[in-house]
């Protein structure tokens, strides 16, 4: 590993690291059908799917078991046939390690699927219909962020360039690479469907130059000049959406803006493959390729895993753990999250399971070497941010653009004092967000309290006015009575 110096840089993003790949591109195998499949209803952020089956129902593979009512959410499909045995709280794949509502499906080993309705001539279809079909097929970004694809394919601006992200820059992960080698024509088809939906002029597949086999597979699957396949230098994090756009086009997109506002949209290769399956074959997203790797597992393997498969079943398909198995990370070594147990099921965003030894070096004080600032792809000053977040100076954190941090982990890797910088930044970001939320709710409470006080005052005043009126009326009556007496 060496620092990527500016001397060797061509068109690229700032910073970044050349990391050792540790990639073992193994053939995809099919694990045995698990006895139990687990589907968390929690999708992302504040989005949940709503179960539409009851305990005791029998379902078929591909049947929707939880619906989504907006484009920002996607339905959940059963990934094999069987019986719904429970809707209960189970630990889910989330950094919190919390339990949340999950639909539990007991498989019946028949693996019966719903009949499919493919629509092959996609160019004759309405584009809204295609988007709807993509949404109903449960497709989300399979690169790791799991953002609903149909929503991303409905930009408010015109798109001129679609970039298919095949960079897969994080070490250890090889699920996209093997998918490109084994299914290049399908990926190209999927890319063309997305290009048609977006009416984009250009479609570029961007692949790291460390994947020659996948590159040639894509080249030989491409007819004429439908789309371009571009090799990009293997510098982590070149697969970051905005980093990749900068490498391809030289355009730097501000953090506050979406790529679509500049006419670009990125989609992962596995997402393109899922779109092909949904549109051309009518298959919903029920499985994905996942890499099981690390010293802690006997056989490094790419697997075609059903969504909802518990991690332990996948580990069993790789001959089990080795004595080195100490921690389980979902995602890559740079951006993955630690899972508390192997009973947790894989979700659509799970591209990799890394099982290895716990390697938590003792961190020392910051020596202000500045290496972290050199490698930061967002051109931030991590050492300064760390100082401010460490001392809880949240305002200064915001002033030094903490929100721009993409949590890629480059600074963690390069730091000679082994300071867990990204973790500190995550906490700082959460604190700032939490404060904003609190002040918003405090402002609401204050407004309601003010209204309440004003109402009380108004009632009081009205009472006084009424009293005065009554008094005046009584005075009048008294005066009239006195007059009558006199006369």
């Amino acid at each position: 590993m060496f620092k990527f110096s500016w001397l060797t840089k061509k068109q690229s993003f700032p910073g970044g690291l050349k990391l050792a790949g540790h990639k073992q591109v193994t053939q995809i195998i099919e694990p045995a059908l698990p006895k139990e499949l687990i589907y968390p209803l929690f999708l992302a952020a504040d989005r949940y799917a709503k179960p539409c089956v009851n305990v005791g129902d029998t379902v078929l593979k591909g049947q929707i078991i939880a619906t989504a009512d907006s484009l920002l959410a996607t339905p959940i499909h059963a990934t094999s046939s069987g019986t719904i045995v429970a809707i209960e709280k189970r630990p889910i794949a989330h950094p919190s390690g919390l339990s949340d509502s999950c639909i539990i499906l007991q498989t019946d080993e028949l693996d019966e699927a719903l009949p499919t309705e493919p629509c092959i001539a996609y160019t004759e279809q309405n584009r809204d219909f295609l988007r709807h079909k993509i949404q109903q097929s449960g497709i989300v970004g399979l690169g790791g962020a799991a953002f609903p694809t149909a929503k991303k394919l409905q930009p408010s601006q015109a798109i001129h360039t679609l970039i298919i992200n095949a960079a897969e820059c994080e070490p250890y992960i090889s699920c996209d690479e093997i998918l490109m080698i084994e299914s290049a024509p399908e990926i190209i088809q999927g890319a063309l469907i997305i290009q048609y939906i977006l009416q984009a002029e250009h479609c570029i597949i961007a692949i790291e130059d460390s994947k020659p086999e996948a590159y040639s597979a894509l080249l030989s699957a491409t007819e004429s000049n439908q789309l371009q396949i571009k090799q990009v230098p293997s510098i982590y994090p070149t697969g970051g959406e905005k980093q990749l756009i900068q490498v391809i086009s030289g355009v730097q997109i501000p953090v506050k803006n979406l790529p679509s506002e500049y006419g670009y949209i990125c989609q992962n290769v596995a997402t393109a493959y899922a779109v092909y399956q949904a549109i051309n074959l009518g298959l919903p997203l029920t499985e994905r390729i996942i890499t099981l790797t690390g010293d802690g597992i006997k056989q490094n393997q790419n697997l075609r895993a059903r969504i909802g498969t518990p991690v332990k079943d996948l580990v069993a398909a790789c001959q089990g753990y080795t004595p080195q198995a100490e921690q389980l990370i979902m995602g890559g070594p740079m951006m993955g999250i630690a899972l508390a147990s192997d009973d947790i099921a894989v979700i659509k965003a799970s591209n990799c399971l890394l099982i290895n030894q716990v390697n938590k070096p003792i961190s020392q004080a910051c020596i202000r070497c500045g290496d972290c600032a050199d490698v930061c792809p967002s051109e931030l000053l991590p050492q300064q941010l760390y100082w401010y977040s460490h001392t809880q100076q949240w305002d200064n954190c915001s002033d030094y653009q903490l929100a721009d941090c993409i949590e890629c982990g480059c600074c963690d890797v390069i730091c000679p004092s082994k300071i867990p910088l990204v973790q500190a930044f995550r906490v700082a970001k959460a604190e700032i967000q939490q404060q904003q939320k609190q002040s918003a709710s405090a402002a609401l409470a204050k407004k309601r309290f003010d209204n309440h006080q004003q109402r009380l005052q108004r009632i009081e005043q009205e009472k006084l006015v009424k009293q005065d009126k009554r008094k005046a009326a009584i005075e009048k009556m008294k005066a009239a009575a006195a007059k009558r007496k006199l006369s």
Binding site: F42, H94, D100, V427, A430, E431, A443, K446, R448
Partner: protein
């Protein structure tokens, strides 16, 4: 000399106009203190709401450690603003509790409307002889509705952490 005099005269006029035109309305210190208070309007500080307490702090009538919902972090923020020394929360006024909202056990509610006037943010809905309920998104957790209830049907329910509301500063 004359030019200088004229210039000074003009600048003086400009300053005078600016001072009139951009005069700060209200008491900015009270606003700043009020902005640091949690706005639960719970009255645990012995003032009827957060703003009266802010006014009392600004007038040096109250100390900065009388607000239990604000906790230690809030006291530090107030101390920083006012250039005072931070101190621990005064336990005479109560202890800081985990976030909670009021909940009315509907089977037990007799519809007496006694809990409605004390609510500082009008978060309780109900009418005479009708069942009442708390709008939990508006409830500040001030507990002022608890003691007026003659049948003790209002309980404080802690706010549960779900993946939706979890954030990284809760990471262990």
């Amino acid at each position: 000399m004359l030019i200088l005099c004229l210039l000074f005269g003009f600048l003086g006029l400009l300053l005078g106009v600016a001072a009139k035109k951009f005069k700060v309305q209200g008491d900015p210190l009270v606003d700043q203190i009020d902005a640091l208070l949690p706005q639960t309007q719970c009255g645990q500080c012995n003032y009827i709401g957060c703003r009266p307490y802010a006014e009392a702090i600004a007038n040096n009538e109250a100390d900065i450690n009388q607000c239990p919902p604000n906790g230690e972090a809030g006291i530090i923020a107030l101390a920083n603003l006012l250039g005072k020394e931070a101190k621990p929360l005064n336990s005479e006024f109560g202890e800081q509790k985990a976030a909670a909202v009021a909940f009315i056990i509907e089977q037990d509610c007799i519809g007496c409307v006694k809990c409605i006037p004390p609510c500082p943010v009008d978060a309780i809905l109900g009418a005479s002889k009708q069942m009442h309920t708390v709008i939990s998104s508006e409830c500040t957790g001030c507990e002022l509705c608890i003691s007026p209830c003659p049948v003790d049907c209002i309980v404080m329910v802690p706010v549960e952490t779900t993946p939706e509301h979890w954030h990284w500063s809760q990471h262990v």
